[in-house]
Symmetry: C2
Subunit: 210 residues, 2 copies
Amino acid sequence: MNETAKLELTQPPKTRIQRKNHALILEAALEVFSTHGFRGATVDQIAAQAGLSKPNLLYYFATKETIHVALLSRLMENWLAPLEALNADGAPIEELLGYMHRKLEMSRDYPRESRLFANEILQGAPRILPSLETDLRNLVDAKCLLIQRWMDAGQLAPSDPYHLIFSIWSLTQHYADFGVQVGAVLGTGAVDFEQAHQHLTLHFTRMLTP
Amino acid sequence: MNETAKLELTQPPKTRIQRKNHALILEAALEVFSTHGFRGATVDQIAAQAGLSKPNLLYYFATKETIHVALLSRLMENWLAPLEALNADGAPIEELLGYMHRKLEMSRDYPRESRLFANEILQGAPRILPSLETDLRNLVDAKCLLIQRWMDAGQLAPSDPYHLIFSIWSLTQHYADFGVQVGAVLGTGAVDFEQAHQHLTLHFTRMLTP
DNA sequence: CGTAGGTTTGACCGTTTGGTCAAATTGTCA
DNA sequence: TGACAATTTGACCAAACGGTCAAACCTACG
């Protein structure tokens, strides 16, 4: 019966058609949620974007919120990955510049994911606050310890590691979340990520070099 | 008749009651729009927050969009002011640190305005893109010329003035727009703006000192 | 006072919204 | 092929939505 739909939420889809439509729906939902926010998006919109009828879409995801949660939880993994890759055995400045670079690449290649995340945080993170307070916090704590060691060893100019990470987040995500504004001010209509990368490299090199 | 309501949109309200309810509605709308976005906010919500009945609210603002536009246009003025205050006769580094400081104060004192703006940009700036392409762009152009002169004169370390301004925007607004995330990671639940100010001062001092 | 204009409200309307359901269609596999 | 499960759909529903309107209510001011 409709237990099928519920099973898919906890377990990966099984049939060929399920896999296809599952992906189709998440792709469409990402497009709609990222530009209109949760409450601003409609199920009809998502269904139309996915090329499915509304009842058909609701056959795969029982509610609008289910889709949103699925998107967010999938996002959190990809979101933490670049920071996890910060390597204790690497050269400190290069490691942090690399992290900045990976985050900027994500802004360039996955701006919708960035805006989806921004929307969620702007609204007070009603659905992912617990994950921020545990998963994200633990990861940041660990990496800040590492950064602090680098600073203590004189390999990085001293500063608050937490705020240093915040600055990497904000500077890189700005080019995705506020891309429209950047484009409007530069008169180009879109972000030049090569330019942004050069500036951020200069920026953090000055900031981090002891 | 209801020409009154239309007049109020172009001219400031006249009677005592009009002034009071006008302010009441904008305050309530700021609260609701800034957390739910335009489409996510409902007129009933705004009316309830303002302590007015829905028809009464619509007596002062003909449509939901009218309220939103009123909020945004009022915001744009306050938004440009700190950058306008950048003084060509001041000491370059102190001037830019001062601008950063004013922007950070706005994040601390007017986080809802910051989130309202962020929501609008995230959704592609459908209502204020023209203003960004003219007012904001002209202002930024002018100030970037000034900054470039400072750099050419060796009073500031050279970098791209436009991206330098973007970095001030993103680093300061981050503490308002992503305040929930910052609080969750630090475990404090809220942003310590004194800490943030110290870090950003250090950050930009290193970035700007020739 | 009184009355004219400003203000407030309950009842209402058409549309959109998230979601349901039985029936029809399609896919799978023995 | 047949038969059972998986998929798709049109019709539908209750609630929420933005907005309207006439009538009732205030309030300033001569």
